[in-house]
Symmetry: C2
Subunit: 385 residues, 2 copies
């Protein structure tokens, strides 16, 4: 453990950061409240918050109507709009861009359909267009963006490349980090979609109380994202959670049970077929229930492997199929009890298909925070790579 020594200036930096963290995500706060939250004395907080105001990180709110006894206090507010970050979902069928301020408040969300057959150039050009539209709508330029995280399907390595496999046509030759880097000088990450969705689920979703989470992205493709000890697990090569690649785990073929269910309208697209089967199962259709049961049986093997390997607190069922969790969760639970030693809680995602972009926002905010931690906080400005 190579702990490095601390001096006064570093101490001040850290105390100032602890004020920022006490300020952020809370309603406008008095000096006394901040002192309590940050564990510092009132005078110390006073000078720290003063300098935050002059630097532009915080704003004063002069005392107004105050119903409590005593001298009314000024309140300080974190200037969440001092910077912004982007979370992007580069999907097969859609592109979703979310713009957020530094507090994680979503400023703007824009979804555009994407051509499933588009080659990487065309897809990245489409991403650019959606980003442009979002920025224009918010009256911003690329320089106002402090960090970007984009999600794609398939395992992503440290450089943001998708070398092993991906359902995005031609994508393993694409370099989205370089592409975005041409217009944005802020830090840019590309990450696997399941991993981002898992992050979102812990941030604003159904697993915010848990530190050990297995997240399932269930749809026509099935994937998993892992959060252990509260932090996203990428794996040494970025391929953590890819248990679906194991032949004994029939995640590739599992959704097929839904499509091949007797009674599905011949005209239905694959995604619609699954929705039809779930609805039919909900209505009590015998064939549909069998199909769902087969689907969950195949799904459960992989989930059980993850559960046994990691012993998580919560398994979150997310992705496109999570809308039908009411007919999936119970059979899945029954299957899992057959396999597992200790059954974790099973929860259905509520974030819908924004989870990937949301997770991207969260990772971008984390990136901003880690910059603050390492570089300290000068006047707010977009970090450069």
């Amino acid at each position: 453990m190579a702990t490095t020594g601390t001096d006064l200036s570093r101490m001040r930096e850290m105390n100032q950061l602890s004020i920022v963290w006490a300020l952020r995500g809370n309603p406008p706060s008095t000096v006394t409240e901040l002192a309590g939250r940050a564990g510092l004395s009132r005078p110390a907080v006073d000078v720290l918050v003063q300098s935050l105001v002059t630097d532009g990180w915080a704003e004063v709110e002069e005392p107004g109507a105050n119903s409590v006894v005593g001298r009314p206090a000024r309140r300080f507010r974190f200037r969440a709009d001092a910077g912004h970050v982007l979370g992007i979902d580069i999907g097969v069928h859609k592109i979703l861009v979310v713009l957020s301020d530094l507090e994680g408040n979503l400023v703007r969300t824009l979804r555009r359909p994407a051509d499933p057959e588009a080659d990487p150039r065309a897809r990245l050009a489409a991403v650019d267009r959606v980003i442009d539209e979002v920025l224009r709508g918010a009256g911003m330029t690329p320089d106002d963006i402090w960090a970007i995280t984009a999600g794609v399907t398939g395992p992503v390595d440290a450089s943001g490349r998708t070398s092993l496999f991906t359902p995005l046509p031609g994508w393993n030759a694409a370099d989205p980090v370089a592409h975005l880097g041409a217009r944005f000088s802020c830090p840019i990450q590309v990450e696997n979609d399941c991993k981002l969705a898992a992050v979102a689920e812990r941030w604003k979703g159904v697993a915010s109380d848990a530190d050990d989470i297995v997240f399932l992205l269930a749809g026509l493709r099935t994937g998993a994202g892992l959060i252990l000890d509260g932090t996203l697990r990428r794996g040494h090569g970025g391929a953590a959670g890819e248990i679906g690649a194991l032949k004994a785990v029939r995640w590739l073929t599992a959704p097929g049970h839904l499509e091949s269910c007797p009674g599905v309208p011949a005209s239905a697209a694959p995604g619609e077929a699954a929705a039809w089967v779930f609805q039919a199962a909900r209505d009590g259709d015998r064939d549909a229930r069998t199909a769902v049961r087969r689907y969950t049986r195949d799904l459960a093997v992989g989930v059980a492997a993850l559960v046994l390997a990691l012993d998580p607190q919560v398994v979150v069922y997310g992705g496109g199929f999570s809308r039908s969790s009411d007919v999936v969760l119970e059979p899945l639970r029954q299957e899992l009890t057959k396999h597992c030693l200790r059954l974790p809680e099973l929860r259905a995602s509520t974030l819908g298909d924004e989870s990937v972009a949301l997770g991207g926002v969260r990772l971008s905010l984390d990136e901003v925070d880690s910059r603050l931690l390492s570089d300290g906080l000068a006047a707010p400005s977009a970090p450069r790579r």
Copy 2:
């Protein structure tokens, strides 16, 4: 992130700790060397190390023969013998106790056979006897011990109980923490044996360079321990790594291929049978090679599941069978390439059957360190629970 503010006294504490860490594990060091290592100024280090000496954490070494030019510097040495910790392996067939000083130097190691059929009371009494012998041999009393970590088979929950299952007869009714706590007032942990062995492998073993490790404890039983991001993963209920419980993973039956190999002497005990087969395979015996291949094929499914789930940098093959890694590793590698996306490095453990107790020592030392971090360092003494 609830970072709490820092004041001067806490800062001194941290700087003093950083001196301790700069001192420990290094040869006796001069003030200048320490200043460099800890990132502090020379005068600062001087007063800090002075107070460490008066507290008893460090010793001065007056300058003696000095071959370098200039005024000879005093050297300071960490008093590794200020305290000691125990690592214990409570196995089915043996009990192994390791006594270590604060620097991780092994002071005393004692192995005693255990009755496989012994009930928990008898087994814990045997543990007591081995501990007593070790302490007596080192001239110590229970009060000289600062932390104890014991390893047992089967998943261990946070309280040190083995409630799910275990091959130790009657053990799920045992409470080893309470038993040891009657004589020792220091912190006591009980942990799963595979997890401890994994920790040892990263500490003094073959995976000291890796942060993401899957450790296999391969013997008549097969188990796994996970280290991710450099820290041991226990799982929410302490059952991480128990992938062997999955029916599709045939870890329970895998060693059977070895015992049922044609040609094994009828008189051989199960453990000896495996050794015989490995030797025969080494000598080119056809049946033995087939048996080993079957064994690795069954083993590989579970390993592949862990590898795909976690994408580790290294897989370590340890446990009793690791002595025969020369005939196992290559077939295992071949099987894994069939299953995995990205093959991690495959290494054979070199720690032998001391790994569990060694891992216990490491965890005990970690416990001591975390006490120092939270409570600061007064004069050295055994921490109380």
